[in-house]
Symmetry: C2
Subunit: 118 residues, 2 copies
């Protein structure tokens, strides 16, 4: 990694070593984008409500969620797809309906923790 120089400001009492140290640390934490992505996934009112509903009721089909949130099935399905793509939720068919649930694992724990459940 190239060394950091205080390029932007011409202030002279810059603690360049401190900046270098922080620059190192920020590069060591390489999963910022991944973490930001997960937070953004939860940082939408519709998706957050869906996650909450799944957290407190284990399983729900698409039109249950649409009915509860009073939104179109299509809108819900689009959001479920995003959550499914990121493996936050999983689905299975039961007769005519597709049933969604939170994927077991750390993400599930984060969500339950967020809502102070369990």
């Amino acid at each position: 990694m190239e060394t950091l120089t205080a390029e932007i400001c011409s202030r002279h009492n810059v603690d360049i070593e401190k900046l270098q140290e922080l620059n190192l640390q920020i590069h060591k934490m390489k999963n910022f984008d991944e973490l930001a992505d997960l937070l953004a996934m939860m940082g939408n009112p519709t998706r957050l409500r869906i996650l909450y509903l799944l957290a407190i009721s284990q399983e729900l089909c698409v039109c249950d969620i649409a009915d509860i949130l009073r939104m179109t099935v299509s809108a819900i399905s689009h959001q479920l797809r995003r959550l499914r793509d990121r493996k936050v939720i999983t689905s299975r068919r039961d007769g005519q309906v597709i049933i969604y649930r939170l994927t077991d694992g750390p993400i599930n724990a984060v969500i339950k923790d967020l809502f102070n459940l369990e």
Copy 2:
């Protein structure tokens, strides 16, 4: 609040009481939008990095952050403004520079917790 009916799907074994209960619970949690807003605030790579830098180094001025993240001062300042508007950070002047820090309070705790600091 109006009573919930299963309007969307014509499936007949809908547990309407369960839906009503969930509908009630989702309306009781009235701060979804607020919480989603906070998560979205953290759910952006640049802002998340800024928050991390402030969390590990107490105080930084605008061009410190710009230097460390190798971004323009303007871009950083725009993001700082969003964080400041939501009271996630506060600023004070020291000589020629404006110094930012995380606002004391629950949000600060959430951020430190997120990064497993302290």
